[in-house]
Symmetry: C3
Subunit: 157 residues, 3 copies
């Protein structure tokens, strides 16, 4: 991809790349192995707080869950760009696993996960299309309603 074109597309969509996730002691935001980049699980954060905490089917609406998923996906993109230096080496999104904190009787995980998937396609077009799994969790870190794990394909240096 072309870094400047992606940044222009984000601006056109009115989207801002969130701050890149900070590496913590025990793990790192992105590991590159060959032509794959593995992004650490992203919990949607804004201003140091979890966005839309809670459980789908309990106290988080599908719309808010989808917004949380979209935010987490943007954080994953920010992590990728920070690790790769730019979007130039990014070829496509490969796999996205959307973990959704859910009540046992919740069944609309795909609608929540679409928040992430549709955002990726808005930004990257066909190169944003990915193999996806959406699943329901008992709970997530910091009480988040959504966590997004991503694998991308990159050009070797």
């Amino acid at each position: 991809m072309n870094d400047a074109a992606v940044l222009a597309r984000l601006q056109e969509l009115g989207l801002e790349l969130p701050p890149a996730p900070v590496p913590v002691a025990a793990y790192v935001p992105v590991v590159v192995a060959g032509s794959l980049a593995f992004v650490a699980g992203q919990v949607p954060m804004a201003d140091g707080r979890v966005e839309h905490p809670g459980h789908l089917g309990v106290d988080v609406s599908i719309g808010d869950g989808a917004a949380a998923a979209a935010r987490a996906a943007m954080q994953a993109l920010s992590a990728l760009r920070a690790a790769l230096g730019s979007f130039d080496r990014l070829l496509r999104i490969v796999q996205v696993t959307v973990f959704v904190a859910s009540a046992p009787d919740f069944i609309e995980h795909p609608k929540v996960a679409n928040g992430a998937s549709e955002r990726l396609i808005e930004v990257f077009g066909d190169d944003g299309k990915h193999a996806r799994a959406a699943v329901g969790m008992s709970s997530l870190p910091l009480g988040a309603s959504v966590e997004v794990q991503m694998i991308a394909e990159i050009a070797r240096p």
Copy 2:
């Protein structure tokens, strides 16, 4: 693998490849990156309905959960064949994650996951053997009892 041989083996086992999962707007059934093919999470469907919905340890038996897992694995194979054009380029199954909708006190996830694992080995022999994780979920899309996520190794074109 040899496409005709796999199809013959399926027939010998009395198994039919389910219809290939249809690409939806927001994601695709399979993404190929280098020598790996990533298959989207498969929820067992038949005639437009989820097979064996519910939770293990509540209202789905281990036998029915294993059947659901086997069905989901077959859908993943169908998705792979549709994406690759045939089984010719398929080298082996690499990783299978079996998400099982479960009561908190359910502990027999491996028996449910064996439905998928044993089906893959029936069809492909040693090339069907994979690294597996089986885990218990709060809930799954459409109320499914099982979702199967798969990575396969393929020959480069």
Copy 3:
């Protein structure tokens, strides 16, 4: 990595590599595909019993959960070494997914997962740093509190 150096480092840390997980009928402990090694999900075992069974936020402390995660990570390393013949071909740990059996109101999954992450860094230094996801499960096989799924990068033979 250098096999002898890793074994010496383990000894220095007072750590023993657990017995390698035994291949079971339906799946295998490790699958190598190109430069990636996929390790099957590891549930912490000692003397044939699950270590620290239960749920975080119910009957397992964060310290015990972290110990369980560290044990599962060591089993994954043992599986890798058994599959590769030694640690010589191991380049780095790439992705670690830590599944934590949790109450719906548990939010400290990262502290549990740190048990695995910190162990990997103790043993391998920077090469142990990985992209991580930590998520909360309804239940896990055998009543385990933690299951660890790992992908490593290896040198091609």
